[in-house]
């Protein structure tokens, strides 16, 4: 009897909440500019919420600007120092003038990842369009900085000093491809991590409902994975930012 029910239930649970449904971009306010659909979507809404939330957070956190920080202020200061130290360690003091950009990037990705962990919300960082756009802009900016600082010497980076000249035709294309693949690996990493985590949570949560009383087991797993996903959400924001720093370091200090 129960075995007969399971396929039917399974169908209904995953019909009602298909794991990919959460990634759907739905239009809220249709807007069209020059024949291009730029509707205000749930993705856009979440981006706006992220900005608003980050703004509110920093507003309240720094409202008193006390020398002995309160709880919120400590968190805000921690983030600030965290990114500042990251740049100092990975790029050096020459990188500090890019601090506002990197800080913005970190806050955006971090808040986006975290907002995605709320039920019924939407994770804009699980969209390749968003991560790729960020990564491509970072890549182009870093490359421009590299050429602006080093001119054509920047090409010299692709051929290591002291390597035999014969290996140049082999090493240069490899390093070049490795360099060009940066925006892709950067964007795919964030996108894949966020997507896989959310699918996994959704599927497992479906099993909780499916299995009834026995669903305690997957529920415990879901609980554990939710904690893990929070960790991954923070970690991926960190990885995205630190990779940006490493790329920037190449452009500024050129080994």
């Amino acid at each position: 009897m129960a075995e007969e029910l399971v396929p039917a239930l399974e169908e209904s649970v995953f019909d009602l909440h298909p794991p990919m449904h959460q990634f759907e971009v739905r239009s809220i306010v249709p807007i069209e500019i020059g024949g291009v659909d730029v509707s205000f979507t749930n993705s856009a809404l979440l981006m706006c919420i992220a900005v608003g939330l980050a703004g509110l957070f920093f507003w309240f956190a720094t409202a008193h600007r006390s020398v002995v920080p309160g709880r919120l202020q400590s968190v805000a200061e921690l983030m600030y120092e965290f990114i500042a130290n990251m740049i100092r360690d990975n790029v050096g003091t020459a990188g500090m003038k890019y601090f506002p950009y990197i800080f913005t990037l970190f806050v955006f990705v971090f808040v986006g990842n975290m907002l995605g962990m709320l039920p019924y919300s939407f994770t804009f960082t699980s969209h390749i369009a968003v991560t790729a756009a960020l990564a491509v802009v970072i890549f182009i900016t870093v490359t421009i900085i590299g050429f602006a600082r080093h001119g054509t010497h920047y090409f010299g980076m692709f051929f290591p000093h002291g390597a035999p000249l014969l290996t140049a035709p082999l090493l240069i294309p490899i390093e070049l491809i490795s360099y060009l693949s940066r925006p892709f690996s950067l964007s795919v990493r964030l996108f894949a991590n966020m997507t896989v985590g959310h699918i996994m949570l959704k599927v497992l949560a479906g099993f909780v409902i499916l299995m009834g009383v026995a669903g305690v087991v997957p529920f415990a797993v879901v609980l554990g994975i939710t904690v893990l996903e929070f960790f991954i959400a923070a970690l991926q924001a960190y990885v995205f930012t630190i990779l940006t720093c490493i790329y920037l370091n190449d452009a500024i200090n050129m080994h």
């Binding site: 990919m20 971009v25 979507t41 900005v51 506002p100 950009y101 756009a133």
Partner: protein, 161 residues
């Protein structure tokens, strides 16, 4: 996967650009200056405190050094004074000693003089006594009254023996 549906891309790019630029302005206009301000102030406060602590420490060290110098000076002075006092006392004692010795010596000498004088006197009286005794003895024994001068000569002559 809905992520690979290109129809949603323009909208996502559009809103991503708007929101991230908005966030950039929020961060650069509000959050970063405020946080930088707070951190700078704290750093300044810490630096000030450190500086003050350094100053106080220096002051303390100076005070200790001054105290030690004063102590050393006082000790040296005390030493000197003790030495001076000891020397003066020694001098006084020596002077007194010398005086006492002198006085004693003088007294001894006076005594000796007096003794010598008494003896001389006594000795000089011996002749007179001898004369008068001889005179008296002669008178009583013999019943003669002798001439003092003769007796004197006889005493002198016997004393010479």
């Amino acid at each position: 996967m809905p992520q690979f549906d290109p129809s949603s891309f323009p909208s996502q790019f559009f809103w991503l650009a708007i929101t991230i630029v908005a966030l950039y302005f929020v961060m650069t206009r509000m959050a970063i200056p405020r946080l930088a301000n707070v951190l700078e102030q704290r750093q300044k406060l810490i630096d000030d405190d450190l500086e003050q602590a350094e100053k106080l420490k220096a002051e303390t060290e100076a005070a200790i050094a001054a105290y030690e110098a004063a102590l050393a000076e006082a000790r040296a002075k005390a030493h000197e004074e003790i030495k001076a006092v000891t020397e003066a006392a020694a001098k006084v004692a020596e002077a007194k000693n010398a005086e006492v010795i002198e006085r004693v010596a003088k007294q001894i000498k006076d005594g000796e003089n007096r003794i010598a004088k008494s003896r001389d006197e006594a000795l000089s009286h011996v002749r007179e006594v001898a004369v008068s005794v001889a005179t008296d003895m002669v008178t009583k024994l013999v019943g003669l009254s002798l001439d003092d001068a003769k007796v004197g000569d006889a005493v002198t002559a016997s004393m010479k023996d």
